[in-house]
């Protein structure tokens, strides 16, 4: 019976609900922009990781090297795009 119960998945589900609730607090509680943004970013990244690993089974197959390379590659590009845009559109004016 124990093997049949998808413990990891249920835990993951609960945890992802908790993360969602934490993110929602930013809307309901009155926090400063910096704190709110930090909460949103941190919960978003943990949430994404959770989805990949627990629900999309990244890391469970033998081609996990490929999958993680792809994820990191995407992450690098996303960060470069976001920060590059901020640099060129907002910060880069003297």
């Amino acid at each position: 019976m124990k093997e049949l119960f998808p413990r990891k998945q249920v835990m993951g589900f609960v945890f992802s609900l908790v993360l969602t609730a934490a993110a929602l607090l930013v809307y309901f509680l009155d926090m400063s922009f910096a704190v709110g943004m930090t909460v949103l970013l941190v919960t978003a990244f943990i949430q994404a990781g959770l989805q990949f690993i627990v629900f999309m089974h990244a890391g469970e197959t033998e081609d996990k090297g490929l999958i993680f390379t792809n994820i990191y590659y995407g992450l690098i590009i996303a960060l470069v795009t976001v920060f590059g845009t901020l640099l060129a559109m907002v910060w880069g004016y003297v």
Binding site: D63, G84, A88, V94
Partner: protein, 652 residues
Amino acid sequence: MDFFDRFAIPHPSPIIYASMVAIGLTVIAIVAGLTYFKKWGYLWREWITTVDHKRIGIMYLLSALLMLFRGGVDALMMRAQTAVPENTLLEAQHYNEIFTTHGVVMIIFMAMAFIIALMNFVVPLQIGARDVAFPRLNNLSFWLYFMGAMLFNLSFVIGGSPSAGWTSYFPLAGNEFSESVGTNYYMLAIQISGIGTLMTGINFIATILKMRAPGMTLMKMPMFTWSALITNLIIVFAFPVLTVALAMGTMDRLFGSNFFTTSDGGMDMLWANLFWVWGHPEVYILILPAFGIYSEIIPTFARRNLYGYKSMVASMVLISLLSFFVWVHHFFTMGQGALVNSIFSISTMAIAVPTGIKIFNWLFTLWKGKIKITVPMLYSLGFLPIFTIGGVTGVMLGMSAADYQYHNTMFLVAHFHLVIIPGVVFAMIAGMTYWWPKMFGFMLNERIGKWTFWFIAGGTCLAFFPMFISGLDGQARRMYTYSEATGFGIWNMLSFIGALGLAAGFILIVYNVYYSTRYASRDIGDDPWDARSLEWATHNPVPEYNFAITPQVNSSEAFWDSKKNGHKLFKGPFKEIHMPNNSGMPFIMSILFFVLGFALVFSLWIVAIISLIGVFACLAHRSFEKDHGYHISVEEIEKTEAERGGAEHENR
């Protein structure tokens, strides 16, 4: 505005009326022809609904050629208008429309379709697969692309073409300065075909990662397949940015949102930024498959293996990453400070390094090779010097301080044409000529092909080198005319003559296809070029299942090894083959997308909603559909193999 007024062309001219008549007559002729020869059923069963990657590739190829001619006529008109000072052939507005559609048609509907055509035809064969990973999705990709292209071309006769440039910068592209529906067409047509491209990206990554023949590790993949993998990776990461930007632009234009407006918190420069976040990777999406094609052709006709396989792969991976780090070089002059510009200048120059590595690898492959001059090889040899000039001028543009001088002049126009033409057009003609015998079972005429090459290569140089000079002299791009006192006249006249040379070259290609279809020998065997990679190991024409027996691979040139070193490609008896069924659903869905796009262009909300519901109905239908494909029996395989004979038999 009266309901029907909006469908009228805002700036009519006799040329446009003439084209309307021509388009109408062509459509009637095609419909009548198909009906008369009773070809509707054949067309539907064998082509429209096909999930065979080879046929989809051929459909992409035909569409790309069609778009090449549409874009080419645009180009000729522009060059004719600017050939002499103060010419009055075209008015300013008409000229704007033409350079806009020229850019979009050439990049999105010609070049993209051409590379996807060759990837479709060649990649599954090169990796020894039966088809792509998601054959039906592949059909949908094609039809979405095709409907997007048709929607875009419709703008010319219904409602007016976009005229804000292929970059469609806001605020010029906003409702205030572009009142006609032209820019709506731009946003929606590119959106629809972009969705198709994104699907192709996912499809080919899955195919290449998951469906390679046994023994073909990543580092044993043929170079064209490597380039396709990297290209599709860039597609998957770059196209979503375009999708989002287009959606935002569409909302600005249709629903009055303020993403790119100059007031109410909008930021017009953000469009330029997002456009180039996609746009620079896009130029590498175009060039990498070309690099792959040259890496197949040069070893075949230098008759030795590719020099520096590993560095070729490494440089492509590096290019794919760096191509996302440089986009700001397209708007150095927009007002951001020196620090930002310097950062992107340096990253831009860095990208020339892996590109340079590739050039040297090809040169080293040629060095000590026993070179055989064929048409594909001629294009490859022509590519090297012309592309290098284009690339070096790119590095010049990449120095932000200097770019204040070059930006938006004809110098820039010369740069990108001298990379894109040898990089995409030469490569595609070379690839088409090279793989033509696999596609159609006969070769294109070499003599006509060589003449064509000289027209096209000479035309390219004559058309674009003068622009370096007039650009440095200050001729701005996208200007419909100039005064005689500027002294630009002579350079533009030369350029016009070059354009005529290019046009002659393209007409020769068509003539060559006609001539070879009629007269070329059909008895050419399976491997007419004495080539090296797996696609040549199967029959001519390729059976629908590609390989009767899945090949066993030992190196990146498995077929060469089987010919020269006694490697056994095909082991074991025939087994039943499982194939996917054709489906009309993707076509129907794409028609619905077309109607949706058209309705949105003209704000016909009810039609839009109905067709959107239709799209979702198709998706739902697909989710519940049970389709297990069909099986080809061993007897049938034996029969086909016996009929076609050839390499597989010799190898067994």
